[in-house]
């Protein structure tokens, strides 16, 4: 009885205090256990990939590029928990190291597609008319150019050495640029389509009728309503971007040996699957786990960001 009362009081205080969409979403999201667990796992994977290599080097003396030909491809052991590859490199260290590249690729692609894609699509759909037509033809142009050609041209035009930032290899930077360049295109189209239908809604007309400036209408009243499809699409983009990176790397356009990413590790591992299964399993399972969690997280976020989802 008193417990129920306390609960009610707490709820009401939250209701009065939190007024932004994000605060509400946060409150709803915390109730979604699967999504929260997924987020925790994702954070763990990130820690594994960022701090892991250092720890592995200190504790096990294993680095991603340290070869020990005498070991050959050895099965998992205490010294090498995920085994070693044919050159005797520690697979766990390589998986952790590869995770950095893959997660960074995912992050860059998602950030670009959210920032550029959503803004571009929203503006295009909202302004409409000739501006919309011109903006969308540009997207069509980029979409219809073969992606690979685009990357090769990009790399041919810009010498990789000229764009190296800090410790990052130039070809690495170019690959990010190439992935960023194409990752926002489809999202821009999706958002534009959403905005086209949303701007016909009466509440947009109503916002106009109370004198809300155009930009505020777009970003306060329309864009939040597109978040559902945007988040779902973003969670679908991440695996495909990771695979694109693996593909580019496979062609020698992305990262190069002894550098590694999950994509390259998996494709290398797949070749030796029958003889040395751990070469595929270690990076494969890590990647699968990550993608799984991303999907659950995305689902949870979508539900949390939609106030109409049951809050009973």
């Amino acid at each position: 009885m008193s417990a129920a009362d306390t609960h009610l009081v707490v709820d009401e205080r939250e209701l009065v205090a939190g007024t932004s969409l994000w605060q509400d979403a946060w409150r709803r999201w915390r109730r979604n256990r699967v999504s929260v667990v997924s987020a925790v796992v994702l954070v763990a994977v990130m820690v594994f990939c960022s701090v892991g290599p250092l720890a592995a080097e200190l504790l096990l003396g294993a680095t991603y590029d340290g070869q020990d030909i005498s070991l050959g491809a050895s099965a998992p052991s205490w010294a090498h928990p995920m085994g070693t590859d044919v050159l005797g490199r520690d697979v766990m260290a390589r998986t952790m190291h590869g995770g950095r590249v893959s997660l960074m690729v995912a992050l860059v692609a998602t950030a670009v597609s959210l920032l550029v894609g959503v803004t571009y699509g929203a503006v295009s759909g909202f302004v409409g008319g000739r501006v919309d037509a011109a903006m969308m033809r540009f997207v069509d142009l980029l979409l219809s150019t073969p992606y690979l050609l685009l990357v090769i041209v990009l790399m041919a035009v810009i010498p990789p050495s000229s764009v190296s930032i800090g410790g990052l290899d130039g070809s690495f930077v170019l690959m990010f640029a190439a992935l960023g360049l194409v990752s926002w295109l489809v999202l821009a189209r999706i958002v534009r389509g959403q905005v086209l239908s949303l701007k016909q809604q009466e509440y947009v007309e109503a916002a106009r009728a109370i004198g809300v400036p155009q930009a505020t209408i777009l970003f306060r009243h329309i864009v939040p309503n597109t978040l559902g499809p945007v988040i779902v699409y973003s969670t679908l983009t991440i695996p495909s971007v990771m695979l694109s990176e693996a593909f580019l790397s496979f062609l020698g356009l992305g990262i190069r040996e002894p550098q590694a990413s999950w994509g390259t590790l998996v494709s290398d591992g797949a070749n030796a699957m029958v003889v040395y299964p751990w070469l595929l399993l270690a990076p494969g399972l890590t990647m699968t786990l990550t993608l799984f969690c991303l999907n659950f997280l995305g689902d949870g976020l979508r539900d949390a960001l939609d106030p109409r989802q049951g809050e009973t």
Partner: protein, 330 residues
């Protein structure tokens, strides 16, 4: 007359489409005074909603175009007002209520934010003050437990309650002019009566001038002080509500009245036969003549206004009968 809050003079709103120019509003004039409720009636496509939207210049241009006329709001022509200036009027001095409460609230924003938005925009008050004022407004429009309800989302409200929220939004800045576009069409009858009573009460208390666009003659009879009947972009008859209902002058008005079911008289309902005309092919002559039971050869010419600015109709038949019997003018 300078005590009119709104004075529309010869308004012409045209749409340029692939099929030609649609004269959705073609020379409409009317005026509304303080605390006065004017009903603007007509069937779908008669131009009544476009008239309303034109007042706030919410008609998309292009394809829309204001081809002529003036809309004087407190003596200022809204059609030539700079957009930025007009924006400070919207929701502040002139408010609008939309037809469908289910779609006129943003599902992603709490009710407090939507009402608060108007206040923050026009009254320059902060969020906390806006929140408090929102509660007062919800209370005013008769929403029970407003302190709790104000922080809910639109989907947690019923249709009638949402329309109250919409009205609360419209009244937030105590506008001098309220444009209501079929405010009760989407609601069931008992709620309709409550909402209309609310609008009527506010017009009297706050002195708000109201333009009530509707196709429901019952609504007009209940709350309006005067009525203008629109057909094919023009006002075909106008008058005080009592006179117009008891002695309609235009055959179209008579047709509309005959097609409304009544509890106090028996008999068949007579619909207005035919369909509204295609506005792209409208030429010379009375737009209603193809459907008019009283049409005669004269109707091939565009009818002149017969009567005064307060009471009259645009119909040749009126003028013909006026030759034989005294006109009933109030």
């Amino acid at each position: 007359m300078s005590d009119h809050v709104l004075q529309v003079e010869d308004l012409q709103t045209h749409f340029h489409t692939e099929h030609g120019v649609v004269k959705a509003v073609d020379g409409v004039s009317f005026e509304v005074g303080r605390g006065e409720i004017m009903g603007l009636v007509g069937e779908s496509g008669s131009g009544k909603s476009v008239t309303n939207l034109s007042i706030l210049r919410l008609v998309p241009t292009p394809p829309g175009r204001f081809a002529g006329g003036r809309i004087l709001f407190q003596g200022e022509d809204l059609l030539t007002l700079p957009e930025a200036r007009l924006r400070t009027y919207r929701g502040n001095r002139i408010a609008m209520i939309f037809q469908d409460p289910m779609t006129s609230l943003n599902p992603y924003l709490r009710v407090s934010r939507q009402i608060g938005e108007v206040l923050e925009l026009h009254k320059g008050i902060d969020r906390a003050q806006a929140h408090r004022r929102s509660i007062e407004l919800l209370e005013m429009v008769g929403i029970p437990d407003p302190a709790r309800r104000v922080d809910q989302y639109p989907h947690e409200f019923s249709g009638g309650m949402r329309q109250r929220v919409v009205i609360a939004m419209a009244l937030a800045c105590e506008p001098e002019l309220l444009l209501a576009d079929e405010p009760t069409t989407a609601l069931d009858v008992t709620i309709q009566a409550q909402i209309l009573e609310l609008i009527q009460g506010l017009a009297k208390e706050l002195g708000t001038a109201v333009v009530l666009v509707t196709h429901d003659l019952g609504v007009v009879a209940g709350v309006a002080d005067k009525v203008a009947v629109m057909y094919a972009g023009r006002i075909v008859e106008r008058g005080p509500v009592g006179a117009l209902f008891s002695r309609p002058m235009h055959p179209y008005t008579r047709g509309l009245l005959a097609s409304v079911p009544r509890l106090d008289t028996r008999g068949r309902l007579v619909p207005v036969r035919g369909m509204p005309p295609d506005l792209t092919t409208l030429g010379e002559g009375c737009a209603f003549r193809d459907r008019c039971p009283e049409a005669f050869d004269r109707c091939g010419q565009t009818p002149l206004w017969y009567g005064t600015r307060q009471r009259g109709a645009a119909c040749w038949a009126q003028q013909r009968s006026a030759l034989t019997m005294p006109a009933e003018l109030d």
